[in-house]
């Protein structure tokens, strides 16, 4: 089932007809904001539906439905802003509880349901180059919503199907989602932080390349340094528009100066299409 229809099943029934009429546009995201009509993201902009506005109780019901009335089971992920249900990534905004957003939400103001889809072949050219000779540690960069996770997933699958043993740290289950094919030579660990996942994979699964999504937190960078120098390749993603953007952040600058990553896969968007350009960093 296309993730769009999985998402529609979570939504209030009164919107069902209006949403189904939009299926042909293959939206990337569904946005629900209190007081506003729901909107769909496609063609690089939001399109609002001609229906009544969202209420907070609608957001609560969406979350209840998505978690089977078990929000506590996704609480840890929710505290970091989003959780995954199959091919859906549900981002949350609202009033944080006492103690800051890290402790959860007292009330909700908007949800962003990102619809993950498989796009086979988008990274075939990059995979060809990465498979020539020795593998070079690669960082996939794009702004938020730019397609990093989709590209990472496809690159993992391609490299895996070409015989590379991939160890995948899928912290929140977004890469595999329980539905995506990550390749026949992939070992996936879910529900653990990147450092613990990396150590476990190194000790027990003898990967040739370890892949992880969105390395940003200090612990993530520790995991990267742990993997580097173990004779295992690295494949990861980070938020940045391009190399110059990446170099503005000290943590990433260190990774590049130490030559931990020597290749960048830059995803650019233009004319409604994405391009995937593999560049040497050094």
């Amino acid at each position: 089932m296309d993730p769009f229809f999985s998402a529609v099943e979570l939504l209030p029934r009164r919107y069902e007809t209006a949403f189904r009429a939009q299926a042909a546009f293959v939206p990337e995201e569904i946005r629900l904001r209190v007081g506003q009509p729901p909107s769909l993201l496609y063609g690089e902009r939001e399109h609002f539906l001609a229906v009544d506005g969202i209420k907070e109780e609608d957001l609560v019901r969406v979350l209840e439905k998505a978690t089977g009335a078990s929000l506590y089971s996704a609480a840890e992920a929710m505290r970091q802003g989003y959780f995954c249900v199959g091919a859906l990534r549900i981002g949350i905004c609202g009033r944080a509880t006492v103690g800051g957003a890290g402790r959860g939400f007292a009330s909700y103001s908007s949800l962003c349901i990102r619809l993950a889809r498989e796009h086979r072949g988008i990274c075939a050219a990059a995979a060809d180059r990465l498979c020539e000779g020795r593998y070079a540690n690669t960082l996939i960069v794009a702004p938020p919503g730019g397609g990093k996770t989709t590209a990472l997933r496809e690159l993992i699958r391609t490299l895996s199907d070409r015989g590379r043993r991939m160890g995948v740290i899928d912290e929140r289950g977004e890469l595999s989602g329980g539905v995506f094919d990550l390749g026949r030579c992939s070992d996936v660990i879910t529900g653990t932080d990147k450092l613990s996942g990396a150590l476990l994979l190194l000790r027990s699964m003898s990967p040739q390349i370890i892949a992880a999504d969105e390395i940003s937190a200090p612990q993530d960078l520790l995991a990267v340094e742990e993997i580097y120098g173990c004779g295992v390749g690295l494949l990861a993603s980070a938020h940045a528009a391009d190399r110059e953007d990446l170099m503005r952040r000290s943590a990433y600058r260190v990774l590049i100066e130490k030559e931990i990553f020597t290749r960048l896969l830059v995803i650019r968007r233009g004319g409604g299409k994405r391009s995937y350009e593999l560049e040497a960093i050094a």
């Binding site: 099943e9 019901r61 209840e64 089977g68 009335a69 078990s70 929000l71 609480a75 929710m78």
Partner: protein
């Protein structure tokens, strides 16, 4: 002889009716204990496993013998499919009213507020609410058990007197 037999039958019928009433009340006390126990198990499952509610309801439905407690968790598990159309709170309340009205308004009043916090993001609040509800239900069961003791004696006494009176009248 016929009159004696008739009198004995009437006496037995009175005893039987009294026993029946007492049995029903005893059973409702047992159901209350089972309900309280199930709430504590729900609390433990939340604390230890943080499993989804659906899975827990199914386990509880299978664990308890045929009765309102089994019926409650079984129906609730089935009704989770209607989430989205109804809030969890509405489903919980509706099912509690369906399954536990026979045990008295007080029991339903204790259970209904649980629907407002169960399934939320704050685990501690849910566990505390479950524990408190279980304690209140246990207290209700104790009150009924004490009342039952006195009622037992009264019932037997009254039925004996009524039966005896009828028997004498017949004879």
């Amino acid at each position: 002889m016929r009159k004696l037999l008739g009198a004995a039958s009437i006496l037995l019928a009175c005893f039987w009716a009294a026993l029946g009433r007492l049995r029903d009340k005893k059973q409702s006390i047992a159901h209350l204990h089972a309900l309280a126990q199930s709430l504590l198990e729900l609390r433990s499952a939340l604390q230890e496993r943080q499993q989804g509610l659906g899975g827990m309801f199914m386990s509880l439905a299978q664990k308890y013998e045929k009765g309102p407690v089994r019926g409650f968790y079984g129906r609730l598990n089935d009704k989770l499919e209607d989430l989205g159309e109804y809030s969890f709170s509405e489903l919980w309340r509706g099912t509690a009213e369906e399954c536990f009205s026979a045990l008295g308004e007080g029991v339903v009043d204790i259970l209904c507020p649980l629907g407002d916090c169960l399934g939320g993001s704050e685990l501690d609040r849910q566990c505390t609410a479950l524990e408190r509800a279980a304690q209140r239900i246990e207290k209700e069961a104790e009150t009924r058990r004490e009342a039952l003791g006195g009622e037992k004696r009264l019932s037997f006494g009254l039925s004996l007197c009524a039966g005896g009176f009828l028997a004498i009248m017949l004879m």
